[in-house]
């Protein structure tokens, strides 16, 4: 998994599946939210997401009041978001 940042937008390439992926995402976003309250996350091609990443996003939105918008490239991941009721919470949409 690779992660890059441009202004308030984070792009993730590759599958999100390991503890290391979770830690990388967390470190990147924790740094960004020091200055940004509105974050756009482009999950370009990952077909999976770990529960620990979901838990982290959940805290960002509900506790830290971050305005998080997730753009999803994979149809499979989008279906997962719909099945598990993440679409509304994370303003998720298929791109």
């Amino acid at each position: 998994m690779d992660i890059s940042v441009s202004s308030n937008t984070i792009a993730i390439q590759g599958n999100i599946k390991s503890i290391a992926d979770h830690q990388k995402i967390k470190e990147t976003i924790d740094e960004l939210i020091k200055t940004e309250k509105h974050i756009i996350l482009n999950i370009q091609d990952s077909i999976s997401i770990t529960s620990s990443v979901i838990g982290y996003f959940n805290k960002l939105v509900l506790k830290d009041n971050i305005d998080l918008h997730i753009n999803i490239g994979s149809e499979q991941l989008m279906e997962l978001f719909k099945d598990l009721n993440f679409v509304s919470l994370f303003h998720a949409k298929k791109v």
């Binding site: 999976s48 979901i54 959940n58 598990l84």
Partner: protein
């Protein structure tokens, strides 16, 4: 020294598993729903490790309502297990109190358990959980799904209905939740499961979510789904839990035989011969022999295990049975159904006695310690059928065999 450490570890692991199974309250252990319709309720609980991050519960609320719970703690290991087990313990305790006061409320159950769990959850912890209330009288499902995989339902036209989560995951930060209802009048089959199943890699490089709908459609029993799943994966990657409910079409159209027998050893022989002549299937006959004998000696004659052992030790067992049966006017009814499902046919045999019944929870101990003499008949029956199921009272048993 290493042997001592290993046996201590094994001892602790066995204790932990026994504790887990104690926590998972299952009122449907080897039981069927036998009110307006007959439905088989089956469970698969297969932790990846000793401490499971999954938990489930099945509670009979009253003669028409059943509550099911499925919990999946975030991640793996001790933390996930502590969360799942804590939630399950509290929810069961609350249900016990509600039943004591005859005041079950799904809404209050969810609210109170959320309030209980919030302080326990870590800041970034997300708990996936299904609260399901099944009302067989009104044919209604009431549910609150917190980021669990969709329920799969099959209707009487073999159409699959998916019910998606109506709540995000439970966390320290949730403020509200939603309960929805749907009619299940035309639904014959249900599957509730945790994500360990659908996220498991398959041998062909995909994940099991690709196959679950077709396998569910083709399944008639829990074993069908279990085998379909296991045959597609190289190894289990997470805790696997599912609840499978299948309504049986036991009616005049599917009824093939209906016979009533006296309570006598002579009738036991006649019944066994009759069944063997009907179905040459040896495994089905073995199961029938054992369960009919149980209906005779434990059901109608009311012989408890302790007395039976004493009679056997004293070598007066059969003479005693002949004595007891002299005063017994009770009957044993056998009904046999044949049901077709896709390309397969199933023989469903129901044996009904007029005894007091028994608590099927004792079967749990029997199946875990099969080398003991008690309950060997039931154990053998289970091995020679696709499942055995008792009614709530325990005086009627049903078993299936594939033809």
């Amino acid at each position: 020294m290493q042997n001592i450490e290993e046996s201590y570890t094994t001892y602790q692991e066995n204790l932990a598993l026994e504790k887990e199974l104690n926590i998972l309250r299952n009122d449907y252990y080897y039981k069927m729903i036998d009110s307006r319709e007959v439905a088989l309720v089956d469970f698969l609980y297969q932790p990846l490790d000793t401490l499971s991050g999954d938990a489930y519960t099945a509670r009979i609320i009253d003669e028409n309502r059943t509550f099911y719970l499925l919990v999946d703690g975030m991640g793996k290991g001790l933390s996930a297990s502590l969360t799942a087990m804590s939630a399950t313990i509290f929810i069961n305790h609350l249900i016990d109190k509600m039943l004591e006061h005859e005041s079950f409320s799904l809404d209050i159950l969810i609210k109170e358990s959320m309030d209980f769990m919030k302080p326990l959850l870590l800041d970034e912890e997300a708990l996936s959980i299904d609260y399901i209330l099944f009302d067989s009288y009104f044919a209604q499902l009431e549910y609150a799904k917190f980021s669990m995989p969709p329920f799969l339902l099959e209707d009487d036209k073999r159409k699959i209905i998916k019910i998606k989560s109506n709540n995000p995951p439970m966390s320290k930060w949730n403020k509200s939740y939603k309960i929805d209802r749907c009619s299940v009048k035309s639904i014959n089959k249900f599957l509730f499961y945790s994500d360990g199943m659908v996220e498991n890699s398959t041998n062909d490089g995909f994940v099991y979510s690709k196959y679950i709908v077709d396998d569910f459609l083709n399944a008639y029993t829990k074993e069908d789904i279990k085998q379909s799943f296991l045959s597609k994966i190289a190894e289990q990657e997470d805790d696997i839990t599912f609840i499978f409910i299948n309504k049986l079409q036991l009616n005049e159209d599917t009824l093939m035989q209906n016979m009533t027998f006296e309570t006598s050893l002579d009738a036991v022989s006649k019944a066994n011969e009759w069944y063997q002549n009907l179905y040459a299937d040896e495994t089905a006959s073995i199961a029938f022999n054992e369960l009919f004998m149980n209906a005779y000696e434990h059901g109608n004659l009311g012989l408890d295990t302790k007395t039976k052992h004493k009679l056997l030790e004293d070598d007066i067992y059969f003479e005693s049975l002949l004595e007891y049966e002299k005063d017994c006017k009770k009957k044993i009814t056998v009904k046999i159904y044949k049901i077709k499902h896709l390309h397969n046919s199933y023989i469903i045999t129901k044996i009904i006695d007029e005894g007091k019944g028994f608590d099927t929870k004792m079967l749990s101990a029997i199946f875990r310690h099969s080398q003991k003499f008690n309950g060997r008949g039931v154990y053998v029956s289970r091995k020679n059928s696709m499942g055995i199921y008792y009614n709530y009272k325990g005086n009627s048993v049903l078993f299936l065999n594939k033809v």
